[in-house]
């Protein structure tokens, strides 16, 4: 997919839109002009309320067939009814790219923009996180977050592109959780995601949702800018980030 650019890529993003029939049509007026404002739209998970087929059809109606590529990851709400495969299929039928430990490269002028996506998982942040110790349930919880992030690092790193964007639902850093109760940070994100992002070269932006009461801006320990685009955080239909592009000589 190719879209015009003038030395930068404009990335629109929103998460936690929690579509159902009562919300259908609310976003469309803002989305109708999306192509004048952005080159791609990222959806950072929790697209539905309960992860049902009916709700997925609402997402497909609201965000399908837009004038720019739409790239999504799922969130924990989208798994609630154990219909995530059906939800994914409905979104893909509507032209939405759904990434779970997967990636897509969009051609932007002379530059290839790589987007890697994963829902991610909790576990907490360095020094205050869950450990693979004790009961099997605790080990499984912690291991799942770590292993998912390690696989995400490979997906992010192996993309053949010039600049990278990491798309997750769970947060890679605690800074974008400011405003949430400290006690629930381990359920909102994991430092393993930040480690995955920092392990890849040329990551220009990391986008996530999930933390409705969090803050918009943060940075990974390696210096990658992180943005929490949960709808209640950004308080508009989507945010737009202008990513400078360095075209290889």
């Amino acid at each position: 997919m190719t879209f015009g650019t003038d030395g930068c890529v404009r990335i629109a993003a929103v998460g936690d839109v929690h579509l159902d029939e009562d919300v259908l049509g609310r976003y469309r007026p803002a989305l109708d002009h999306l192509a004048t404002k952005a080159d791609v739209l990222l959806l950072a998970g929790d697209l539905t309320r309960h992860g049902t087929v009916r709700e997925a059809r609402c997402v497909a109606t609201e965000f399908g067939n837009l004038a720019v590529p739409v790239v999504a990851c799922l969130g924990n709400h989208d798994y609630h009814s154990d219909q995530q495969d059906e939800v994914t299929a409905i979104l893909r039928d509507a032209g939405i790219t759904v990434l779970e430990l997967d990636s897509i490269v969009l051609t932007c002028g002379d530059t290839r923009l790589g987007i890697a996506g994963v829902k991610g998982f909790g576990g907490g942040f360095a020094g205050r996180c869950a450990s693979e110790f004790g009961e099997p349930e605790m080990k499984a919880f912690t291991r799942h977050g770590r292993e998912t992030a390690e696989q995400f690092a490979k997906v992010l790193t192996t993309m053949d592109c010039d600049t990278r964007v990491a798309l997750t639902h769970y947060s890679p850093v605690p800074e974008t959780l400011l405003g949430e109760p400290l006690e629930i940070y381990p359920f909102l994100g994991s430092y393993h995601l930040a480690r995955a992002i920092d392990a890849a070269p040329a990551v220009g932006l990391a986008v996530h949702g999930h933390a409705h009461a969090g803050s918009e801006r943060g940075t990974t320990p390696g210096g990658v800018k992180v943005r929490n685009v949960a709808h209640p955080v950004i308080k508009q239909a989507y945010n737009v980030y202008q990513l400078p592009v360095t075209v290889p000589a």
Binding site: D22, R26, A30, H50, H212
Partner: protein, 81 residues
């Protein structure tokens, strides 16, 4: 109705686990003699439903609702990274 940690927890469980709601992000704040619900939802119908379900499940509980409906206007500015 007595207000304590357990009541607060019960309200939060209903918000998160009642399938009519599934709103775990709504925060519950204990005031002097009532509980306040704080957060944002995607429609006014969802806000009304939260109050209706909580009144059904906990009829003697006094609630203060501070739940807004998240706006969906177009952005006017771009952040240059």
């Amino acid at each position: 109705m007595k207000l304590d940690h357990y009541t607060e927890s019960q309200v939060h469980q209903v918000l998160a686990e009642d399938d009519r709601l599934s709103e775990p992000a709504i925060q519950v704040v204990r005031l002097e003699n009532k509980l306040a619900l704080v957060g944002e939802v995607e429609s006014s119908q969802r806000r009304d439903l939260i109050l209706a379900v909580l009144r059904e499940r906990l009829p003697d509980l006094e609630l203060h609702c501070d739940i807004g409906v998240t706006r969906v206007h177009e952005p006017e500015e771009v952040e240059e990274l």
